[in-house]
């Protein structure tokens, strides 16, 4: 095998940040090369330099032996280097074919478009990929998985021999991931080199040949993906050994039931869902994407209307028609999409923590008591170990893990007894994940009841005292925590009703 891409001593500085310090990477033809590292380790920056989005300050990039320096993404694409970004970068209002050939539309005279050639071109590529996607479908109407396939088709249409995939499976379910892997294998056989960025360890074992680990802008090392243990890779990433705590499940047989949900129904999303939650318990919700876990959480929180079903808090039936009602009875919801629903990124830590409890800080005339807010904010910054220069720091400058802690602080201040965490560690790096786990355990010990929705099975198993598994809107089983295996959960999560 020969070296397809060689990156040597790559330096990149942004104002105030030394993003890449002599970073290196080597990619061979027909190789799947995993690139790993915590958030902010410099993976994306390195890839953006490779694909011409950023220019490097120093270092050497070689493509098939010759030095290259791309001025813009177009130049990189034409040289056969294509990047599939983490956030899908498709145009939702345009059709599949229009997206694939954006910027390279087959033209007739006078700038008119040759729509037929465009669609045929797309069909050709899909044939290669063994896919049946209508080239004239509007991209926004496709599933995330299909959109991902369109991105790959777009990359292939450049006849790329280097393909960078940034967390391609983040939004895919298992079947879709399997489909993606088949395509990756096919590309590999054709000699395409693939750089695969992912946080999911089990995927690496399945698909990657080698792994390069980055930390703080430096390349820590490149190892064989098959023979190196997951723990070794993780410790390369975090620079320290992670203690793999066993789940310590408390005896909750005498604990009172705080939340009881009976026969919740909402269209096809939620079908006859019942469960209960005890004081001090962490109840995990496992299942595939679209199994209805988030829908159940949103329904309990009053964000979506229920068709039928009862919700009891401390044995009393409550009527929750809106999030306001839910907060009133002591339920807090931490959305999977922090940026959109959980926090106000442009506001400071103090305001975000006080957000759900403003009444408490408001005088009769409607004036806010900033001193009291500051005191409370400082208290939670200390309690939750939120790393921020002050309580006046805007949230957008905080890391994902610290933002999550601010949201937790917000609900603790509101005195919520039941906290629903929807994908609490999405987009958070390994080190901060461990901290969030610790925090959740502490909250449970303090008598808060917690529901954790997570798509990462190891996370659910590690955290939960009990695990509810959902499939197609139903709860297909409730398993004990700690001892349940991934296999048991997966078989319940794929138990189709028909």
């Amino acid at each position: 095998m020969s070296n397809l891409v060689t990156m040597l001593g790559i330096e990149k500085r942004f104002p105030g940040v030394h993003a890449l310090k002599a970073a290196c990477l080597e990619l061979q033809t027909g190789e799947v090369h995993a690139l790993m590292g915590e958030n902010g380790a410099g993976k994306s920056t390195l890839m953006k330099i490779l694909s011409g989005v950023y220019s490097k300050d120093a270092g050497l990039v070689k493509l098939m032996g010759s030095d290259i320096e791309f001025k813009n993404p177009r130049a990189a694409q034409e040289a056969g280097i294509c990047i599939i970004h983490q956030e899908l970068s498709l145009m939702n209002d345009l059709t599949v074919a229009q997206n694939i050939f954006i910027g390279r539309e087959p033209r007739l005279s006078f700038g008119r478009l040759d729509e037929a050639a465009l669609n045929n071109g797309a069909i050709e590529i899909f044939k290669l990929m063994n896919l049946a996607i209508d080239p004239r479908a509007i991209v926004g109407s496709l599933t995330i998985a299909k959109q991902q396939m369109v991105e790959i088709a777009k990359a292939l249409s450049y006849r790329s021999n280097v393909l960078v995939m940034d967390e391609p499976t983040a939004a895919l379910n298992d079947t879709e991931i399997a489909d993606l892997f088949i395509i990756i294998e096919k590309l590999k056989k054709e000699g395409v080199g693939i750089i695969y960025i992912s946080h999911k360890m089990d995927e690496l074992k399945q698909i990657a040949d080698r792994v390069t680990v980055m930390r703080d802008g430096e390349t820590i090392g490149t190892v064989d993906a098959q023979t190196t243990s997951t723990d070794d890779i993780i410790s390369m990433m975090v620079g320290r050994e992670l203690i793999n705590e066993a789940v310590n499940i408390p005896d909750l047989s005498d604990a009172p039931i705080v939340l009881e949900v009976q026969k919740l129904c909402r269209g096809r999303e939620i079908r006859d869902v019942s469960f209960n939650l005890k004081k001090g318990e962490i109840l995990g919700f496992a299942g595939l994407m679209g199994a209805g876990r988030t829908e159940v959480a949103r329904a309990i929180f009053g964000a979506d209307k229920l068709d039928s079903g009862t919700i009891k808090v401390h044995g009393e039936t409550v009527s929750i028609k809106s999030p306001t009602d839910a907060v009133e009875v002591g339920i807090g919801y931490l959305s999977e999409d922090r940026k959109h629903f959980g926090i106000a990124t442009g506001m400071d830590v103090r305001a975000n923590i006080a957000m759900a409890s403003l009444k408490r800080f408001t005088s009769k005339l409607g004036v806010l008591d900033e001193t009291a807010m500051q005191d409370v904010a400082s208290e939670y910054i200390e309690k939750l170990d939120i790393r921020t220069p002050s309580d006046r720091q805007e949230l957008r400058f905080l890391s994902g893990g610290n933002q999550q802690k601010v949201v937790i602080g917000k609900w603790l201040l509101r005195n919520s007894e039941v906290l629903i965490f929807d994908e609490p560690t999405r987009g958070i790096d390994v080190g901060a994940k461990a901290e969030i786990y610790k925090l959740l355990n502490q909250l449970a010990e303090l008598g808060r009841s917690i529901i954790v929705i997570s798509s990462e099975l190891p996370e659910v198993i590690r955290l939960s005292h009990r695990i509810a598994v959902m499939c197609e809107g139903r709860v297909t089983g409730i398993l004990p925590g700690g001892i349940s295996s991934q296999k048991e959960i997966m078989s319940l999560a794929t138990r189709r009703s028909d």
């Binding site: 498709l90 145009m91 939702n92 209002d93 954006i102 910027g103 539309e105 700038g111 479908a137």
Partner: protein
Amino acid sequence: MSDASISETSSFIRRLADTGAHQKLLAFASLILLLVGFSIASPNFMQTSNMLAILQATSVNGVLAVAATLVIITGGIDLSVGTLMTFTAVMTGVVLTNLGAPLPFGILTAVLMGALCGACSGTLVAKMKIPPFIATLGMMLILKGLSLVISGTRPIYFNDTPGYDLISRGSIIGHFFPSLPIPNGVLILFIVAITASYVLSRTVLGRYCFALGSNEESMRLSGVNTDRWKIAIYALAGGIVGIGGLLISSRLNSAQPALGLGYELEAIAAVVIGGTSLSGGRGTVLGTVIGALIMAVLTNGLRVLSVAQEWQTVVTGLIIIAAVYADMLRRNRTA
């Protein structure tokens, strides 16, 4: 039936919904409803002369709204269309009346000045990264001021250019079909609309219009020179506004430098009623023309019914809100 053909059909239906056909249909139905309603309410409404008056009243706002549609589809907004219209009219007046140039030069001036100013707005937005709202607000004021300065705050009359008023008020169609005296202004509106519609759906420029509004960053990462295309689209819109300048000055047979403010909002209203999304990425010229017609029918119909002008404004406001609300309802249902 095979799976493929089923998905073919369902994707066709989805496409129909996605292209905003619903909203266009709704707007069209509202237009018919208004026409029927006013006809029943007043026998004077459905007269040929009144219908022609409505069409004539639509022409200027319609042309401006078509220009605004292009910019709004890119995810921008153009607040300068009203005063740019006046500015192009004043410049035409300078060339024709003050300099005594022949008519074709005047027409060229209007369109080129419009395109030039549009390119200016486009450059402010694309290169200097000034938000479209602010950039075109600035242009709006600059152009208003320049119109007043250049004209010395006095109207410029086109009495020395015979036939200037025929640009808008003459009727080529009426010349050949005396029973159908559709004014040229209306003919020009339809030519502009059909051309713009073709550009939007069939050319690279149109494709990039939608792409800009849909996901500009993605377009840039695909290697498209987004700045250049954005400037081109603003320039095209400006050129169309220049045609609007010709229409209004021809109708008044003068360039009125104080005119113009408020036209931009009427244009945006027509665009919105026609179902174009203010967040960009979606919209049609046909919808915009229907939107402009609805506004003209409403104003005219209420006048025929002797409703005070003040109330006409209130009703227009309500219609805009209702139109956007209907669109939101539809979108929430499909989402």
